[in-house]
């Protein structure tokens, strides 16, 4: 060995990373000693841009914070502005929003399972997960006109409606999805080589989770029983019954299980939402000027707790928009997770936390 210490850049461009972020691992032999991180490659200054756009335009800006969970960003933002306006949106719109939130959770978890499989060398699971995910994308495309960026939210409700026939069509497609999803969950639980690569890798104890304020599936996999849909329920979730999935192992395998079981739970939730879909209008007229005030709007994004702080000064443009996406909390724990890890485990650890860099950089 030339020098026992080597600096390995997992640079902005790397097959492991789907989005640009730079890790510099100092490696001794095969063991990672210390990990540095540089972010900001996809920083678009969305919080700054929002100050120059009207509330209506900011919906579409905020939808492009993250490519995977765009709907939950728009929903949280609209709920914040509606709170400022003191607007009560029709129940049907709340249910339609929740339906798309849950569909997006399934789509995000399946996408992530494919990425994990790809990074661990099991391309088959990537193909299967993304093939089954197409069913969810088709449902969302029929519903909102866009596979990923849905633009279904308006301030005061939702844009497109769902008639009876369309509901049955969605239910039929959800039935189509249940069986492959169950197979994927079985795969994650039993496949021997996948378990060999993910069990007790990238372990985070409950104490570390609380100290680093980690949120979402990563926290729930270590035993933290927090889910904003239940702990801080907004309209439709108050009368929807669902189970919060937690594990205690706290390693990449536990996180995989939590995410896949959450996806199964979300499918059941979608059915319940469609069953209880109330009738009535889908949106309410909203004024363009928002009275001065501040609001903190929280929601459960596929990766965890998402918070929007909006401050309005009475004009048409938000005075200040602060977004904190869940990936930032898991990013903080990465240097700690990567310490003392075998170099070959780095893909498992980096994929385990389900990084969404566009979210983190804003």
């Amino acid at each position: 060995m030339k020098s026992d210490k080597m600096i390995i850049p997992i640079g902005p461009q790397h097959p492991l990373l789907k989005e640009p972020i730079a890790f510099t691992l100092t490696v001794e032999g095969e063991r990672v000693m210390e990990a540095g991180m540089r972010m900001g490659y996809v920083h678009r200054g969305i919080e700054r841009l929002a100050q120059e756009r009207s509330y209506v335009q900011t919906i579409h800006l905020v939808e492009r914070v993250c490519g995977i969970c765009s709907h939950v960003h728009a929903t949280t933002y609209c709920q914040g502005v509606e709170a400022l306006l003191g607007l009560e949106i029709p129940p049907r719109a709340q249910y339609l929003r929740a339906l798309l939130c849950e569909l997006e959770r399934i789509h995000s978890h399946l996408l992530w399972l494919g990425v994990l499989g790809k990074n661990l060398g099991l391309d088959t699971i990537f193909m299967y997960a993304w093939r089954d995910r197409e069913i969810v994308l088709d449902i969302m495309e029929d519903l909102s006109g866009g596979r990923v960026s849905h633009a279904i939210n308006v301030i005061g409700g939702v844009r497109s409606d769902v008639d009876e026939a369309h509901c049955d069509e969605i239910l039929r497609q959800l039935d189509l999805l249940t069986e492959p999803l169950a197979r994927l969950v079985g795969l994650v639980e039993h496949e021997r080589t996948l378990k060999a690569r993910t069990q007790n890798v990238g372990h985070l104890s409950l104490e570390q989770i609380r100290r680093y304020c980690v949120v979402g599936p990563v926290a729930r996999a270590s035993g933290l029983d927090v889910d904003l849909r239940r702990d801080m329920p907004k309209a439709p979730y108050t009368d929807l019954s669902f189970k919060v999935i937690t594990h205690t192992a706290g390693d990449v395998w536990a996180r995989t299980l939590v995410r896949m079981q959450e996806a199964v739970e979300s499918v059941r939730l979608c059915r319940e939402i469609l069953a209880q879909l109330p009738d009535g209008p889908i949106s309410v007229k909203a004024k363009r000027r928002v009275p001065p005030g501040e609001v903190v709007s929280r929601a459960e994004a596929p990766r965890g707790e998402l918070i929007y702080y909006i401050r309005s000064d009475g004009s048409e443009k938000p005075a200040r928009l602060k977004i904190r996406t869940p990936t930032l909390t898991t990013l903080i724990t990465l240097p700690e997770q990567l310490r003392e890890v075998n170099m070959a485990d780095v893909p498992a650890v980096l994929s385990g936390v389900d990084l969404c860099i566009a979210c983190a950089d804003r």
Binding site: R53, S54, V56, Q57, T58, I59, H60, L61, E63, R64, T124, I125, Y128, R131, E134, D138, E141, D142, S144, G145, G146, S149, A151, V154, R159, S160, R183, G186, L187, H190, E191, R192
Partner: protein
């Protein structure tokens, strides 16, 4: 349990082998798009009143209104800036602007894309 977890993926792989591949043959085959798909911006010139509600609400500044007088104005559309969010369709009260199903044709030169959607000229006064 031991052997089955070794060959866990085999039954699924075999089932996939027998089924038709699930990849779409686009561009060699057709691509089915849902009715609500948000594609190219299409205009109904007569409905347009030149009120520029759409221009104001477009998040990507893709629409531009050049006005000479009350009846003479031009609505210019820059497809390369458009984010296909459909906000213009929503903001327009006269149903003049909608999003069709086909997507933008590719081009090497940005300027060739710019389109003049509405070119309203004042009608010549018939009586003196």
């Amino acid at each position: 349990m031991g052997l089955r977890s070794f060959l866990y993926l085999l039954p699924e792989a075999w089932r996939t082998w027998l089924k038709r591949p699930s990849t779409v043959r686009y561009p060699f085959g057709p691509l089915e798009l849902p009715p609500g798909f948000r594609g190219r911006v299409v205009i109904e010139p007569d409905n347009c009143r030149g009120c520029s509600l759409c221009v104001r609400d477009c998040p990507a500044d893709a629409l531009e209104l050049q006005r000479v007088s009350r009846d003479e104005f031009r609505l210019i559309f820059h497809p390369e800036r458009c984010a296909y969010c459909g906000q213009c369709e929503l903001s327009c009260n006269f149903g003049a602007i909608t999003l069709s199903n086909d997507f933008v044709r590719a081009t090497t030169d940005r300027d060739t894309l710019t389109e003049i959607l509405v070119d309203r000229k004042p009608e010549p006064e018939s009586e003196a």
